[in-house]
Symmetry: C2
Subunit: 297 residues, 2 copies
């Protein structure tokens, strides 16, 4: 199973996801930009905006190769300099504050010496945390994980808690999900099994999120709820620009800026010391933005 096959699987995954999202949204269609990378390879950016449900979102596919920049080689302690990387990455910002922001990513990385690894994850950022939604979301992730390895869910759930965390806010980004990296065909799983797991995570996204879209987008919302959403999106911006490794890697390696930063929300607000009423839904959500919560119980 060579890298071209993996890239092709990811490309088809992008196609399937975009189709389901368009159908679920019912109004907006993706616009596509293909681009080439100077150092080798390229990608396909798909962006959706002003839909019935999705206010702004992007589903990116890329398959790039070439020489690693010195900076990255030093950081990763690599002596190899030729790399191949392919992945699908998406973020959706819904218009209605009752529909959570979502992020999904699957990726594959290979070096010239033949070493390789898979990575990926899905995480959900509700504006208002809903216990049923959180339980259902985590249960579906757990089911996929359990089919592949008995320890994956707990390991990758904790990894997501640690990764999607804003230390300077002392908040998780949302209710987490799963995050995994360096899946290299050891761990009791072959390379093919690692790919299968990664694809299962990628394939889980569309049915999982389209069901959430359907279930929550018709809930009416108040001005206050919209305002809270715009402020929570500010935390999303802070995470992506200050902490997210993928964003940093992209901006540092001269990636396509408009594709990388399509993750930015369409509209955001910041207020100094945003007032939180005691006993409010906003306070409840804040109290649940913590690591280590068992959502499936």
């Amino acid at each position: 199973m060579n890298k071209e096959i993996i890239a092709e699987k990811f490309r088809q995954l992008q196609d399937r996801i975009c189709k389901v999202l368009e159908t679920s949204d019912g109004k907006a269609n993706f616009i596509e930009d293909t681009w080439e990378r100077e150092g080798g390879g390229g990608g396909r950016s798909r962006v959706i905006a002003n839909g019935n449900i999705i206010e702004k979102g992007g589903v990116q596919f890329s398959a790039v190769h070439g020489e690693l920049p010195e900076k990255i080689k030093t950081k990763l302690k690599l002596s190899n300099s030729n790399f191949f990387a392919t992945g699908v990455s998406l973020i959706m910002h819904p218009e209605n504050p009752h529909v959570p922001i979502v992020h999904m990513n699957v990726r594959y990385f290979e070096l010239e010496d033949g070493s390789f690894w898979f990575g990926g994850g899905i995480d959900l950022t509700p504006i208002y945390i809903d216990a049923d939604q959180a339980k259902d979301f985590h249960l579906k992730l757990k089911n996929v994980c359990d089919r592949h390895h008995p320890e994956y869910y707990s390991k990758f759930k904790n990894w997501a808690d640690d990764y999607f965390y804003l230390p300077f806010r002392e908040e998780t980004r949302g209710i987490g999900g799963i995050f995994f990296d360096h899946l290299n065909g050891t761990d009791g799983l072959s390379k093919e099994q690692a790919l299968n797991f990664t694809m299962d995570v990628g394939n889980l996204f569309a049915p999982l999120y389209s069901r959430i879209m359907k279930q929550y987008h018709k809930i009416p919302y108040t001005e206050k709820e919209k305002d809270w959403q715009l402020h929570r999106r500010g935390r999303y911006v802070e995470f992506n620009l200050v902490l997210d490794k993928g964003t940093k890697f992209g901006l540092d390696t001269n990636g396509r800026t408009e594709s990388i930063l399509v993750s930015m929300p369409p509209e955001v607000k910041w207020t100094y010391q945003y007032p939180i009423e005691s006993g409010s839904k906003e306070e409840l959500t804040l109290s649940l933005l913590k690591k280590g919560i068992n959502w499936v119980k």
Copy 2:
């Protein structure tokens, strides 16, 4: 001239600046929060919002001391671990897109071995670049610089061009200004002269910016111009969260997050590939977001 005197001068500078800004705005007043730092020292956060002219802004004073975190010591290659740092830092986000965003900072840093340095700067980020405004702004900075050292303006203007630059956008943040650091009483200037220069930069801010406020805030603006402003503020967010060293230092050293991120604009927009009309004012401004422009000629 010891560090307490310098801190007191900065504290009085914050007072003077806030008074002038309140008078110029004519509506909003600063709210004040004083805070203490666990490791030593504290600060005075002053925030203004929903004024006639200023939509959101902060003027921060702090004087902190203690042990430097290991991470910072390693980065700065310091063996000394006790530091003292004091400064005033401000950012103003006006409501009217014809009034530019402004940033000013003066700072003083001292180590236990007696070594010290001053730093600071002022830079302007117009939403629409106005040649007269840019020339006047840079001339006033040049006048202050020229009073102290014949090479300061050209040196510190280039430093600002290099510092306030978004490589992944290939744009300067605005029309720059001056930026200086490591002013340590060599350079032909004594410590007292370095302080005097730094204070002159700090004292220049209020008359300079209040004149700009007065002159530009009554210009009517269109919806399109407001929309362009919200998008340009997105670049400001990108700079501050991805690139600004002060923000990074603050977030990394467990600073007061709400004071650090009061620099975030009140309302921001991001659109994938924001459309720029050929021959438009927006295109003209973009063409001027370059390093090395001689604004004073």
